[in-house]
């Protein structure tokens, strides 16, 4: 489930780059947010409290037409969140991942946790579950976890830009990391004054890459006709400046 949504998520996020402003802004949940849709797509374990007539189809293992009390089923968050916290039909079982990091949070030892592996939307998922937690622990846990990990995020986004620690970061953290890496790259480019050349936009660049790829498969074995017209450099490669 987690890996599936990770792939989908990557795909969707690539698409999103077309809306520049929203994609450069900090994540803030809204109706159209693809992240929010992914989070609310996640399944939550629920215990059935009363007999629900002709709802048996919700339970893959059930042989009855009705959904019987005491059964445990997985329901998507987008459905659950529309019900009252203390509704008569389902009791939500909170996932163990939050309990599991509790100790680390108390000991302020959260930097080594592979958060992305625990849950790709560790924070946002936790956010939605907070109202269902009668012990008020989850809210505190996600808040404390991020608070403890920010310094680490700042450090790794400055120091190892190339090795993105995918499984260590949740979606929110990965975005913060990307932002940090971007800042650092721009700064280094600026220091070397290499940013002064006008560059083609990322969109155009993507398009050209695609065309090149297509050209290459056409050209295979056909020689470099239709090159750049630069006599000295038959390969069509020009020194970059």
């Amino acid at each position: 489930m987690a890996t599936d949504s990770r792939e989908l998520q990557d795909l969707a996020l690539k698409h999103k780059s077309s809306c520049f402003y929203l994609s450069t802004m900090n994540y803030f949940p809204n109706y159209y947010s693809i992240e929010d849709i992914f989070v609310t797509q996640e399944k939550v374990e629920c215990k059935v409290n009363t007999r629900l007539q002709r709802m048996g189809f919700l339970d893959a293992g059930a042989e009855t037409e009705d959904l019987e009390p005491g059964r445990t089923i997985n329901l998507p968050l987008w459905y659950i969140k529309e019900l009252k916290v203390n509704n008569a039909y389902f009791t939500i079982a909170l996932p163990d991942i939050y309990k599991n990091v509790h100790k680390a949070v108390c000991e302020a030892e959260t930097t080594h946790i592979e958060l992305g592996r625990l849950h790709p939307f560790f924070y946002e998922f936790g956010c939605y579950l907070t109202p269902y937690d009668r012990n008020h622990v989850i809210g505190r846990i996600i808040f404390e976890t991020l608070r403890q990990r920010v310094r680490h995020l700042l450090d790794i986004s400055k120091n190892d830009a190339d090795s993105k620690p995918d499984h260590r970061l949740d979606n929110i953290e990965a975005k913060l990391h990307d932002a940090g890496v971007r800042t650092n790259t721009l700064y280094i480019n600026w220091l070397q004054m290499s940013g002064n050349n006008i560059r083609i936009s990322e969109l155009v660049e993507e398009h050209q890459k695609k065309r090149k790829r297509a050209d290459r498969s056409d050209d295979e074995g056909g020689g470099g006709a239709g090159g750049s017209g630069d006599m000295d450099m038959p390969t069509g490669k020009k020194p970059s400046w």
């Binding site: 900090n26 994540y27 803030f28 949940p29 809204n30 929010d36 989070v39 609310t40 969140k81 529309e82 019900l83 009252k84 916290v85 203390n86 924070y123 946002e124 936790g126 956010c127 939605y128 907070t130 109202p131 937690d133 009668r134 008020h136 809210g139 505190r140 996600i142 808040f143 991020l146 608070r147 920010v150 310094r151 995020l153 700042l154 450090d155 986004s157 929110i172 975005k175 913060l176 932002a179 940090g180 800042t183 721009l186 700064y187 480019n189 600026w190 220091l191 004054m193 940013g195």
Partner: protein
Amino acid sequence: MDPTIVEFIGEKCMISIIPNFSNEPLHLIYGSVGPFRAGFPVFVPLWLAAHLRKQQKCRIVPPEWMEMETLEEIKEEEKRSKFFTKMPSEHYMVVAQLVMSTAPDDVPRCEELRTIIKDIFDIRESKLRTSIDAFIKGEGTYAKLDNLTLLEMHSVRPILPYSLDHIARYQRMATASQRDTSMMNTTGGGTGTGSMSNSFFTQ
């Protein structure tokens, strides 16, 4: 805001040049510059200085602080001080970078200067990171950043404000649910832009 915009803003700084031509004053919208008299120093905005230098129409006079002894002092002071010291120019990095890249010949000991200015920036940046750490650990949402220059702020942008936004949002969420157990099907993570601003800070 990326470094090129910080540079654009910093290019408004005035700097002294020695032109090798003469001309009447120019009435720019931003203010008048000139008159230009060959061999005599005149103050112009940095963007104009860089342009004239590239055209070989002037020599740039490096600002007073762009000199080893002064910068050594600044560096030591920065190391000693717990807080950010006041820099000789609000855009010291931009000025240094532009002057030294367009007119390295006009700056004595250019390479040494480059290194020491970078050192100062690095010391300040790591100080910034340490104070950010303390600030976040202290559950703050507000901090004073006196004497920090624009480019230095930029070094933690947008990652710092973005992180603080999330932390504050999760804190609001945690506090809100604690206060009101029966809180239900509102829009999950999106809660609290206006009405909850007070609960934001309670611990």
